[in-house]
Symmetry: C2
Subunit: 140 residues, 2 copies
DNA sequence: GAAAGTTGATATCATTTAGTATCAACTTTG
DNA sequence: CAAAGTTGATACTAAATGATATCAACTTTC
């Protein structure tokens, strides 16, 4: 499931989209593929699941990319990774609301040792209702 | 601030937009103006503040209307109005994720006596970072 | 009671946006 | 080492989206 096994052209073929589209989703911060040391992208089955979710949100639900990014920026990562008050006060994400946390430089907090690609926060958007489900889980 | 005092044409003039645009925002579920018994709309200063926020989100942040609605659908109303497990299990909003709670029929729960227009949930979107601020308030 | 304004609807328009095609330089693969 | 594939960039296109204009029926206002 998490094994990075598809090259970008294979992934694109499997999803029925162009290679460029996959790179665009990445540039827009919607997906983080695995990268080999040579910078070549590789996609796992979970990645493809995520792409499917992105496509559904764009094509069926008619939400544009900026909109998706804004939704992702609402994921309460601070409550998920349980970062300290100290961390929060230095975190650009905690105060901002336009970009998801993984698009932001976070070297000096609890996230510095985490890989965003495998982080629970990033993966909250694996399937399409999952962000709200995550919130239900976190809130009383 | 909350007094409904502007007719739709006055409100439109104050915001520099057309009357139709205000009605569109309403149809799309982004705003709930006061309505006289004759069905005529009236806008308060707080309403205009909200319209300003909507316009900024559409024109500057480039998020489309569906996107805004999806963001609004993430407001964790259940934690704000503290509705019961019973209420939640019957609430179409609690399980859905495409429409804000005030676009949904809620006659048989704690919201039946509330007016959405003045509800804290609806007003979480008064200014533009306020939804995330609300979440910080609710989460540990 | 007449003029001005409002409502909801439809048709239309200008702009934006997601996505494709094409390109040269670089990397992988067999 | 040569063919196939990848990377990042730019130019372009078809479709969708926010917004305006126009309409007849109805209300408000003076």
């Amino acid at each position: 499931m998490d094994e990075p096994k598809y090259t970008i052209s294979n992934a694109a073929k499997l999803m029925g989209i162009s290679v460029h589209t996959l790179r665009m989703y990445e540039r827009e911060g919607l997906i983080i593929p695995f990268k080999k040391s040579s910078n070549q992208r590789l996609y796992s089955d979970r990645d493809l699941e995520r792409v499917k979710c992105i496509r559904k949100t764009i094509n069926d639900d008619k939400i544009n990319i900026e909109g998706i990014r804004r939704v992702l920026a609402l994921i309460p990562c601070w409550a998920i990774v349980k970062c300290s008050a100290e961390d929060r006060s230095h975190c650009e994400f905690f105060s901002g609301y336009t970009k998801p946390c993984w698009m932001i430089n976070h070297k000096k907090n609890v996230c510095k040792d985490r890989e965003c690609r495998t982080c629970e926060v990033y993966q909250s958007f694996g399937s399409c209702s999952s962000i709200k489900d995550k919130m239900k889980e976190l809130l009383p």
